[in-house]
């Protein structure tokens, strides 16, 4: 039995690989999130997928690409599919109703990370949506004074560019692509994730969130104030809520409202030049 403990944004996940037919692999940025054994929030077992059996429950959500979710008992079943492997899913994961227990069955015989994308982010998205926090498409920067600056934007907005612009001016970049915000001890905290962008920056560090900047590439550097409703709407376009779960979507909106109420959320219009960072106080 091989057991690994991961901690992402304070959520501890125990992954047990007890099936000799499956070789669980951990490599890349996720290894920075491995922790010593600790009481887990989520317990996962990994097993070999002997024979694929179609789901019996209703289809809850179809991503239109690499995964689909079905009802199963009082929980859900997530199927991951890749055309290169075949028409049948190569990975079938079942979770209980609150995603605290699950089983991942994989049909691959080569060494493989059972929690590999998209399952890792789907699990975290569903856990966060149950009152824990929100994952944002963003670049998280911890300044030398310890404050957390979060730069948010969709693909191509300039997250990795922003990370590179900070260079030595940052104590640490916790991710150049995915950042989680949680409320802990009455404060908003910005957490790094294993999921990075082109600069491959990923760290388990966290920092108090001091400001959020919506990235807009422009011809001049400028910080623009935003009406709160606009800020929430623009942030929502950079989140990954479990859309099949209306309560989770509502919680995500309320979490964004909390962020907008508690810290400045502004539009960061920038020229891809380090001079733009002078605007970040």
């Amino acid at each position: 039995m091989h057991e690994t403990f991961l901690r992402i944004a304070g959520i501890t996940i125990a992954i047990r690989c007890g099936d000799p037919r499956v070789t669980c692999l951990r490599e890349g940025s996720v290894t920075r999130f491995i922790v010593d054994p600790a009481p887990p929030d989520v317990e996962l077992d990994v097993a070999f997928l002997e024979q694929y059996e179609p789901p019996r429950g209703a289809l809850l959500f179809d991503s239109g690409a690499v995964w689909r979710m079905f009802a199963e008992g009082d929980g859900v079943r997530i199927e991951c599919q890749s055309d290169l492997i075949g028409a049948a899913p190569y990975k079938v994961a079942t979770f209980n109703h609150d995603f605290t227990r699950g089983t991942i069955r994989v049909s691959l015989t080569k060494p493989f990370d059972p929690l590999e994308y998209p399952l890792d982010e789907l699990l975290i998205a569903n856990l966060l949506g149950r009152g824990r926090g929100v994952e944002l498409h963003g670049c998280g920067v911890i300044a030398h004074d310890g404050r957390g600056h979060l730069f948010v934007g969709q693909s191509g907005a300039g997250k990795t560019t922003t990370a590179r612009m900070w260079g030595d001016d940052a104590r640490e970049i916790v991710s150049d692509d995915r950042v989680i915000v949680r409320e802990e001890d009455g404060r908003l905290w910005m957490h790094g994730t294993p999921w990075h962008g082109e600069a491959e920056l990923a760290s388990p560090s966290r920092a108090p969130l001091s400001g959020v900047y919506l990235l807009t590439q422009a011809t001049e550097n400028e910080l623009r104030e935003l009406p709160p409703a606009v800020a929430v709407a623009r942030l929502f376009g950079c989140t990954f809520p479990p859309f099949h779960n209306p309560e989770a979507v509502a919680f995500t909106m309320s979490m964004l409202e909390r962020i907008v109420t508690r810290v400045p959320v502004r539009e960061f219009r920038f020229t891809r030049d380090r001079a733009a960072l002078k605007l970040i106080a």
């Binding site: 996720v30 690409a65 690499v66 890749s82 998209p118 709407a233 859309f243």
Partner: protein, 62 residues
Amino acid sequence: MNEDEMENKKEAGSRKRYEKPVVTRFPLRAEEAVLGFCKSQGSHGQTQGQCTVPSACSSPGS
């Protein structure tokens, strides 16, 4: 004009002028928001669409 009519007129004068609600659309890229794509390690820029190999997905669509 009686007292009630005068009161109504006064209220109407101080009432905020009606403004028709305006719908503002904000972009939400469905394929990103639902974690529906990834980009291969080492690739640059957006490579949206089906993941080619599961193990190439450690760098999700960003």
